[in-house]
Amino acid sequence: MDLTFTPQEVAFREEVRAFTADKLPGDVARKILEHRRIEKDDVYRWHRALYEKGWIAPGWPEEYGGIAWNSVQRHIFDEETAAAGAPRLSPFGLSMIGPVLIAFGTDEQKQKYLPEILSGETWWCQGYSEPGSGSDLASLKTRAERKGDKYVVNGQKTWNTHGQWADMIFCLTRTDSSGKKQQGISMLLIDMKTPGIEVRPIITLDGEREINEVWLENVEVSAENLVGEEGKGWTIAKFLLSHERTGIAGVGVSKRELVYLKHIASQEQLNGKPLIEDPVFRDRVVQLEIDLLALEMTVLRVASAERDGKAPGPEASILKIRGSEIQQALTELQMEAIGPYSLPYLPLSWGENWVGQRIGPDYAAPLAARYFNMRKTTIYGGTNEIQRNIISQQVLGL
C-alpha cells in the first residue's frame, strides 16, 4: 500500500494540468468557476480540444479511438480538469450510447456513429424515463411497432437533458407488451430531426432550461437503428446505467466548490471578521471537508481495485449517494455564506454580455439558483432511495 502518487502519476497530472492550462478556453473556465450559464458551444470547444489531443474517450477500447487510462489516471484527469474549471462533457454519447454500441451494435452502427461521437459532430441525448416510469423504469409505455423495415414510434419521454442540443436520441421503446414488463423492450436510435418528434422544455425551479419532454408521434425509424435484438433492450438499458456511474462521486467538482466556499467565506464579514473565522461556520466547513476527503479516498480505493481487475460493483451506489449529498451540502453552505445576497434573482446576469449592475458581491448572483438546481443530484441517475434499495439487495442481501 502506498498512498503517494507514483512518479508516473505525478507526471501524468502535470501533463493534464499543462494541457488544460493551454487548451481550456478561459471564458468557459470562468463561467464554470463562477457558476454562470453554460451553452452547448462551451462544452463543444472543450470536447474538441480533448478530441484533438486523443483524450476524449478514456473508457473506450483503443481500437475504437479510446485511450487506455487506468482508473487512477481517470481520477487525476477528472480532478485536474474540474479544478481548472473544465465543463462536464456531455455523457450521452461518450459514456452511454458509445459503450453500448461497442458492446451491442452492428458493424454498420459502429462505423456510422462512433467516430462522430468522438469528434463531437453528433450530439446525443437519452430517451429513458417517461411520465409514468421514473424509478420503475421497466414500466415504460412508448410503443414501437414494426412495419416492414421500419418501426413507428409513439409515446412520450421525459427528464431528457439537453435534448435541445442533440442530433440523435437513444430511446427505450416497447415492442411487445405481452410478457413481463422487463421483456419486450427495445432500444432504437432516432434522428432528432425526424418528423413527429417534438422537444418541449421543462423549466426547473431555478428558472433554467436544462431538461425537456420529448414527444414522439408516428416517428418512423429504420429497423437498422435497432440496437441488439428486438425485445432485449432491458439488458442493454441496465448495461448503460452501470456505465452512467463513472465519475458519479464528483470529487473533482466538489473539491473545486470547497475552495470556492472558503473563498466566499473569507470575503464575507460576520461581526467584523471574515465569516470563515466564525467557529460555528468553520466547524461545518471542516465537517464537509472531512466528508469529502473520505469520499475521495473511497473513490481511489474503488479505482485502485478496478485497476487491479476487479469489476465495479454496487459500491458505485455508495459513491452516488455520498457524492450527491456532499455536492448539495456545498451549495447550501455557499448560499448561507453570502447571507442576504442570495436573495436577488437576476438570471440575465449569469449569462454572457451582462453589463448591468449586480446586487451584492459578484460571486453571489448564481448561488441560490445553483442551490435549487443541485437538488436534482439526489434524484437523477436513480434516486438515492433507489440506490439504497440496490445496496440493500445486492450487497446486504436483504
Partner: protein, 395 residues
C-alpha cells in the same frame, strides 16, 4: 395557559382562508411573477375589506386592535396560499413602526390610508455591509437648519417598487454599528434625489436598491425620537420575524399536504409510492418538523407583544431558528419525495420551497438566530445561564 382561539380570531382565520381559497390561485401568482408585479390590487382591496390591513392598529385609526396572534393567523394563510402581497412590508413593518413610534398626528395621516388599502409603504433599512446586523446603519441624515439631508444606500428593500412612501433609517449620530444614533424618517418615493434599481428576489418578491443623494426632508418626517430608533426597529423586526415564522408554517403545511397527496396518487412498481415504508417515515418526519415549527411560531406570536424584552427575543429567535431548520428539512424532502416533478417550475412545490428558503435568510438564518439566542441569554441572564437551579455542589 390557553392555546385556543377566541371566537373573533376564529372568524378572522376563516374569512382570510375563504377569501384566499377563492381569490388567490397559484396561477394568479404565477402570472404576477411573469409580469413583474409585486401585488394584485384586487387582492389588496379584498384584504382591506376584510379588515386585514388594520390588524395591528387600534380602532381609533380604523384598525382591528389585534396583536401577534391575529398577525399569525393572517400570515399562516398567506403562507398556505403562497401570497406575494406586501403585507409584511406595509402592515407589519412600516405600519408597525408608525403604530409604535409615530406621533398621534402622524398616525392620523398615515394609518387610515394603510388600513383602507390606499397607501403602501416599505421599510428601507439594510445596507451592503449589514449582513444581519440591525445596528449597522451607515446612511447619514445631516441636520440643515430644521431640515435633514439624507445620503447613503439601502439594499434589498422589499416591496418598495409599489410603495408610495418609505420609512428610512439613517444615522444622525455616531458610527455604523453603534446602537445609538439611528433615527427614522418618512420619505416620499417620488423624491427627486432618490435613485433606485428594481429587481426580483428568487421567491418572486420585488425589491429595490436605493440611493439617497441628498434627499431633503422636513422635521415633520421624523418618526419617533431622534437618535433613539433602535429599540423601535428591534421591536418591529421581531414582529416581522414572528410573522415570517407563521408564514413559514403555512408554507410547510402546504408542502406537507402536497407531498402526502403525491405519495397517495403517484404509482410506481404497481403501488402508490406511499406504500414504501422509507417514504412513510420520512413523511412522518416532515410532519414532526412542521409541528415543532408550529409550536414555536405560536410561542413567538404569543410573546412578540410582551414588554419583557428577554422573553420576547427568546421566543422570536428560537422560532426563527427552528423555522430555518425545519423549513429546510420540509422543503428539501418535499422536492425529493416528488422526485423529478419536484424539480419543475410547473408544480407549486418548488415555489413554496423557494419562499421558505427566502424566509430563512430574511433577518438572519438559523445559525444567526442561535447566536442571538445565546447572546441575549448572556446579556439578560448571565448568572442563570451558567448556574443550575440547584446549587449542585452543596448536595
Amino acid at each position: 395557559m390557553d392555546f385556543s382561539l377566541t371566537e373573533e380570531q376564529r372568524l378572522l382565520q376563516d374569512s382570510v382562508e375563504r377569501f384566499l381559497e377563492k381569490n388567490y390561485s397559484f396561477e394568479l401568482r404565477r402570472s404576477m411573477v411573469d409580469e413583474r408585479q409585486s401585488m394584485s390590487e384586487e387582492v389588496w382591496k379584498g384584504f382591506a375589506s376584510l379588515g386585514l390591513l388594520g390588524i395591528p392598529f387600534s380602532d381609533e385609526y380604523g384598525g382591528f386592535g389585534g396583536g401577534g396572534v391575529e398577525t399569525m393567523l393572517v400570515m399562516e394563510a398567506i403562507g398556505k396560499h403562497l401570497v406575494m402581497e406586501p403585507y409584511l412590508s406595509t402592515v407589519v413593518m412600516a405600519g408597525g413602526l408608525v403604530d409604535i413610534g409615530a406621533a398621534d398626528w402622524q398616525k392620523k395621516i398615515l394609518l387610515p390610508g394603510i388600513v383602507n388599502g390606499s397607501m403602501l409603504l416599505a421599510f428601507a433599512h439594510y445596507e451592503r455591509e449589514s449582513r444581519y446586523d440591525l445596528g449597522h446603519v451607515g446612511t447619514r441624515a445631516t441636520a440643515d437648519g430644521n431640515n435633514w439631508v439624507i445620503d447613503g444606500k439601502k439594499t434589498l428593500v422589499m416591496h418598495a417598487p409599489v410603495a408610495e412612501k418609505l420609512i428610512v433609517s439613517a444615522r444622525t449620530q455616531g458610527e455604523a454599528g453603534d446602537r445609538d444614533g439611528v433615527t427614522l424618517f418618512i420619505v416620499e418615493c417620488d423624491e427627486e434625489n432618490l435613485g433606485g434599481q428594481e429587481y426580483p428576489l428568487f421567491d418572486g418578491t420585488r425589491a429595490l436598491e436605493l440611493q439617497f443623494n441628498g434627499v431633503r426632508v422636513g422635521p415633520e418626517s421624523v418618526i419617533g425620537t431622534i437618535n433613539g430608533a433602535m429599540p423601535l426597529i428591534e421591536k418591529v423586526v421581531d414582529r416581522a420575524m414572528a410573522a415570517l415564522c407563521a408564514e413559514a408554517v403555512g408554507l410547510m403545511g402546504s408542502l406537507y399536504s402536497m407531498t402526502l397527496e403525491y405519495l397517495k396518487t403517484r404509482q410506481q412498481f404497481g403501488v402508490p409510492i406511499g406504500k414504501f415504508q422509507v417514504l412513510q417515515h420520512r413523511t412522518v418526519d416532515m410532519l414532526i418538523n412542521l409541528e415543532e415549527a408550529r409550536s414555536l411560531s405560536v410561542l413567538a406570536a404569543g410573546k412578540v407583544d410582551s414588554d419583557n424584552v428577554f422573553e420576547r427575543r427568546r421566543a422570536v429567535t428560537a422560532a426563527k431558528a427552528m423555522v430555518g431548520r425545519a423549513g429546510r428539512y420540509v422543503g428539501q424532502e418535499a422536492i425529493q419525495l416528488h422526485g423529478g416533478m419536484g424539480m419543475t417550475d410547473e408544480l407549486p412545490v418548488g415555489h413554496y420551497v423557494k419562499r421558505l428558503a427566502a424566509i430563512d435568510v430574511l433577518f438572519g438564518d438559523a445559525a444567526y438566530q442561535r447566536s442571538q439566542f445565546v447572546q441575549l441569554r448572556e446579556d439578560a441572564a448571565a448568572a442563570e445561564f451558567v448556574q443550575p437551579r440547584k446549587a449542585w455542589k452543596q448536595l
